[in-house]
Homo-oligomer: 253 residues x 2
């Protein structure tokens, strides 16, 4: 009698930076280029078999990432550093594997997420930028940062975020817990809206940003912002901020 | 008898930011898109007549600018702020007029230059960047900054920079005065080579950077750098650094 064959599957965790400008988001689609598809093609070249990537979640068309995470199971003798170097030589220049580690077989990039951090970048000055224009949302009118920060305070905690939800996303409920939300200035003078949450609804960050900008422009008050959130009515919220300003910074496990 | 008609020509000075990635440099060409051509087309739309722009000097294909300067003479009733707003609404998004001023008729953006400041941006870490990759030169090997800074010291002053000259540029001599040259780190961890000079030969900054990087990689010493400069022999100098890292920061009058 033979003993059971040893399971040679390895589980690899990838950390991924990408410029989303040229892609229709993370998730594989029938016709349009996506980040997941590009990495899966490169993995197929390396591993010689079809490999399915599990991402921490989708990012939408045009959204960037400094720290997207995905994992894949593969029966291979290749090591994590060979995968990292090989993928980086095969992938287009707007996708980089910043880390690759072998992890326990039980690790799942989607189901094990504890929280995610997003940044949204706003250029708030009269003139737009020529250099780097594809990486932020330009608001020419002066924003009231103190009012926007007060509105940020209303987001923190566990709330029903239905008013900030885009349509067309599968979910069982619309309550999410936000751990941190603030508005800061970075070294280059950009405004950065930072948000960390246990989970996010589709377009939630960009709809929050659009509604916060209304507060910054004095179209509404921080108290209006709270009322909009509590109303659960998407029609009361602001526009969906453009994707080019949004960055998935980190996924925490 | 009539008095002479009042000369209604106005002279406008433009300060221009551009992302050079999509252009074959500043100067108008027969077939390829250039910055000068884009602005002249927009000026023609506004002024209704052909307007010729005098730039402070050329920038090469793919080179960026935060502070290129140009002037144009135009018989017009339009004011400087109308020109700025109009041009910014007509120009493609990778070219911005950051300032427009009416200046004395004698001002010439090319002949009145006192000095120019360029920055060259290097990303010195193992991994390249996905986001912003089109705005710097990626050097994965660790650079010896202290050796590069010592080499910078040799550039300052009046020298014959023939060893760092590209071919095909009209000039009467190859001696230029460099006022400042240094290597610093910016807030985001990029290395910035800063150089201010009264004038520059074609490809001079990019050839200096290529040769400095050889010093940083210990392929040559700061003393070798000086010897290369004094040799006036282009064949001894390093490669021409790629255009995407170069920025015309400021033109001083």
């Amino acid at each position: 009698m033979n003993s059971e064959p040893v399971n040679a599957y390895k589980n690899f965790k990838l950390t991924i930076e990408y410029d989303g400008g040229a892609y229709h988001g993370w998730q594989r689609q029938a016709t349009e280029p996506t980040i997941q598809e590009e990495i899966e093609k490169a993995l197929m070249t390396m591993a010689g078999v079809k490999v399915v990537l599990t991402g921490s979640g989708r990012t939408d068309a045009g959204v960037h990432a400094y720290g997207q995470v995905a994992n894949f199971l593969c029966e291979t003798t290749l090591t994590h550093d060979v995968f990292q170097r090989g993928l980086n030589s095969l992938l287009p220049r707007d996708i980089i594997i910043t880390a690759c580690a072998e992890v326990p077989e039980t690790f799942n990039a989607r189901y094990d997420v504890k929280s995610k951090t997003y940044h949204y970048k706003i250029l708030n000055r009269g003139l737009c930028a020529a250099i780097g224009r594809q990486y932020s949302w330009h608001i020419p009118q002066k924003l009231d940062l103190s009012a926007m920060r007060r509105a940020c305070g209303h987001i923190i905690g566990t709330h029903d975020f239905k008013a900030f939800e885009g349509t067309g996303s599968p979910r069982t409920h619309t309550t999410r817990r936000v751990i941190h939300a603030d508005l800061v200035k970075d070294n280059d003078g950009y405004l950065i809206f930072e948000i960390e949450g246990e989970g996010f609804l589709r377009f939630m960050v960009r709809n929050i940003v659009g509604t916060l900008v209304d507060v910054g422009l004095a179209k509404s008050t921080p108290e209006d912002f709270k009322r909009i959130m509590l109303s659960k009515d998407r029609n009361l919220a602001g526009i969906t901020a453009p994707p080019c300003g949004l960055y998935l910074m980190q996924v925490n496990y």
